[in-house]
Symmetry: C2
Subunit: 209 residues, 2 copies
Amino acid sequence: MSDHVPSPEPAVTDGRLLRGARTRRTVTRHAVDVASLEGLEGLSFGRLATDLRVSKSGIQTLFRTKRDLHLATVETARELFVDAVVRPAKAAPAGGARLRSLIEHWIDYAEKPLFAGGCFWAATLPEFDSRPGPVRDALARQRRQWLSLLAEEVRLASDAGEIAPLDPGLAAFQTDAVLNATNTALRLGERGATVRARRVIDGMLTRPA
Amino acid sequence: MSDHVPSPEPAVTDGRLLRGARTRRTVTRHAVDVASLEGLEGLSFGRLATDLRVSKSGIQTLFRTKRDLHLATVETARELFVDAVVRPAKAAPAGGARLRSLIEHWIDYAEKPLFAGGCFWAATLPEFDSRPGPVRDALARQRRQWLSLLAEEVRLASDAGEIAPLDPGLAAFQTDAVLNATNTALRLGERGATVRARRVIDGMLTRPA
């Protein structure tokens, strides 16, 4: 932001920066909703300006390029996901309890849903997984972080005998696969989608290897 | 087609119909590739005309509306999927062998890939699952057909003792979830994605309930 707001007077600058940061946050929060429904390609400066009743040039000044808008949206989605799913689960003891808390918070996140179109990555990874570039890299990195987080709790839970002795990487992959499929089922209005998710994941975690 | 091609002379009409049907097939086959990469919203009459070096008005005459183009594309994807995955698996005996053949052909379908951007439904369901209408209905129907097919083979295999005694609906859902996640992993260039898929699915099908 600093290169957009030259600062003759610190007080004014702070105010402008704050307003800029607030606007930026308002825009990216809305952009996450739009992208969860229509994908990142559903985002344009004009569309966001119309939706939010702000000037297109104002939004353009904040983000400059569509790619920067995409990257800022992806980062906002990550922060909101961390707040809704990862951070609350940290309250539970590491291992089985935290693993189950992560899964429950994920199901809430998709069911509520936190974003208008359900899971942000379920909407944007299929859109960008064939397009090399920084947006795909950011989405893939976030996916790896999420899978690593799951795998680490599986490893601890498995070592402590709180769940079946599972391969952490495989179990994390499988859990994530079921959660994503549950997001699709929820979007399609399938009854019992979350009950099924819990049954399947319980079965996976408790069955002997 | 018949209302687009008035028929004074049957011979000429047949020729025109044939050419129309061929063009239609050429267009939808390409459209499936584009949609697998960019989603159905990536399709426009102009884009397809440019890609295929035919006239935009010709394509417009064949499909009339974008929705009709989407529906024709979805149907072509289904036919090609049936030819590549479902039909060859019918050669295997019903039950465990056919289930494993369906899974192997699916992995081939995603890995090869049959469509430029990998699995067609992995790309289009997340795009349309929040948009009620005939396109979403068609995609959801195809998804249900695929899950039913898997569930039926799980039921037969399970009853025959060829695999673990599993709930057919849950096991079908879980298998499909892992296949979709494998498609994403393949698109992101993750090593060992198909090896992992086979290990996870083998584990699911052979473990005691």
